[in-house]
Amino acid sequence: TPRHATPSIPTRSLPARKPGNVLEEARARLHVSSVPESLPCREQEFQDIYSFVESKIIDGTGGCMYISGVPGTGKTATVHEVIRCLQHSSDQDEIPAFRFIEINGMKMTDPHQAYVQILQKLTDQKATADHAASLLEKRFSNPAPKRETTVLLVDELDLLWTRKQNVMYNLFDWPTRRHARLVVLAIANTMDLPERIMINRVASRLGLTRMSFQPYSFKQLQQIITSRLNRVKAFEEDALQLVSRKVAALSGDARRCLDICRRATEICEHSSSQPSDTGLVGMGHVMEALEEMFSSSYITAIRCASLQEQLFLRAVIAEFRRLGLEEATFQQVFVQHQALCRVEGLQPIGVSEGLAVCQRLGTCRLLLLEPSRLDMLLRVRLNVSQDDVLYALKED
């Protein structure tokens, strides 16, 4: 094998199928990975980040920015779009040239690997973490007249936390050096991360240039989907509104919204009799998809459990009521179970069978159990609320 081979994956023997009908077309457009050219509803944030990075590049200085927001609010996509626009304008010689480097905390086995990855992307050098740190230190603190500005995007910043926080410290300390010309954009989920986990000297170097991405409102979500679909007529207007209202009420996560829409197109496709003739995705399909995505599976699990398992759950609740606690030993529950068996006119089961029933419920995570070697003294707790169990058992 060649020494410096470029890693690649095997190519397909057949090219990927082109979408055949409207629904498939819509599904391809709604996929989370197909990022659109322009992100709707993030114009203000885009402008802020753009002007921040642009000014730093033009001035030839460095700086930090902290970007926060719940998952699925378009943080990484906006930053990427900013970089794309900046690269476009630097190609046209409107601003000086710059380099863009991206690292992700989730893709590292150890926080110190950040140094290695940054060094490799900057200079194609491979080094150990310590060596890479010292090389980077030297690079950023020594003057070099022809150096271009480096923009570093640090995604999932909270995973770079170490006990001494030296990785975070270095990342935010380098931009303050005079000759560094480094712009760091740090992304994380929580707004108060600098105050919560960073020690003072790290937080103060991060500075106060912060931006938080608000969750999408239902109108914004609707606009996002419409812009994605881009005149492909696959959804009823009301159906889209229902999806966006539901998602906005829960989390405002755009990914979740797109996933539900994709699932609804699938349901629509399956429900129609002929594959060629499919109507629009209606309210019914969307409702079904929402049900699938949001409903708790515990109640279904309890309803589908065997008779003895249902009796056991009932015995657990009876024992909890008797004790007035939310915890009981298997022995206590088993006594209740046998009494219930007699009441129901069933043959009382043995201890082994009772334990098997209990442990099966434990594997479904309906109960929380201790290790099985304690057998009779094993403590039992419910993992769902008592009301849910009673509601599920009441039906029959």
């Binding site: 082994s352 334990l355 098997a356 159990l369």
Partner: protein
Amino acid sequence: MSVLLQHPGYADERLRLVTERLPCREAQARTMLALMGEPEQYSYPSIFIYGHRATGKSYVTQTLLKELELPHVVVSCVECVSAGLLFEQVLMTFFGSSSSASLPRSPSFSDFVRLYRQLCTQLPANQTRYIVLDKAELLRDMDANFLPGFLRLQELVDDNVTVIFLSEIVWDKFRPNTGCFEPLLLHFPNYSKVELQEILAQDCHPSYSPELYSSYINILLGVFYSVCRDLRELRHLAALNFVKFCEPLENGEAKEKDTHKLWRNIEPHLKRAMQTVYLREVSSVQWEQQQQTEERETADMRVLSAHDHVELPFYSKFLLIAAYLASYNPARTDRRFFLKHHGKIKKTNFLKKHEKTSNHLLGPKPFPLDRLLAIFYSVVDSRVAPTASVFSQDKRLLFSGGASISLPVVLSEPVSTQCLGSPTPDPQRTLPYLSALQRAHQVKVNPCEM
């Protein structure tokens, strides 16, 4: 004699041999044969066999597999201190000695499965392969994925392989919390008295008639059956005491027919054996020597539990007594017992109600060093100077395991000591090396001796 085992796929001749070698276990052997099926057929992925000690779990399994010449490996989980040993043994037996060379240094279960699959394509099984894991309860203490992994090994390696687990513990205590593939459970019941008699009577002495040996076993079981049903233990006792049983016959005092006379001769001997050999107070070699030399009585022998006399220096003795008194008496009563002029005591309500239960039941209590010395001075009649030697005696007692410093949680607390009169000291409060020392030679303090 029992019914012959029959199963298609195995030669009748072999099965007859197996039947002869498995007395009183025909039913279990038949079930196992049915589960195993013919050699080429796929067997159930995992079988869990449980039963008391010495009910023939390993013996039946190994005899069946060995006599029917099936490819099998027997691994005792006690020996496998690391998982690598277990994997190595399995791979070596099935695929030859060079197969385990490519296992990495500390193999994981997936390494084992990968290598097994790889070797299995070169050497596919034409008969069911059996992995017998003896003492399977130790699998629970290994990595969490071992037990579930072995339970569905057949599925993982895609080979005709069956794992047999042998354990004295029921399956309920094995089941992992995340669930697993449920094995078939097979119980080996205890031998009844009749069955024990039948099995024990098989190894009779060649120079005497089988009837005589059978009656000897009958007497032996009459004495020992109430305390011991362990076949191995009983067989050992039978072998040890048979010489004594035959003594009257050799001397010509009795004939083989005089069962009553023989019984009169052996019965007290067996009763004595129960108190000595059975509890391992006297070793088997000692017991046999004593039977030959006859003159000395059994009671005179220095049994193991009589060896716990430790010669101590004068002050050490008193220190030990003081420590014992300090740890088993409430501090409230010290004034009354040890002070010469303690003033008046109210007779009534001297002992509170909860203290009426014996302090010996609750175990020793910790006490500060000051109290130990105070009691020591009041117990010893003469004047003792608190010299370095007294304190060093104190230390030496600690190291010989008589008393132990209980580790104070907060270091500012005074170091307190505790007399280990009880056989089980609180392990958390004892220094680890001290507890090891205690096990090595424990000083028993008997209240009656003082």
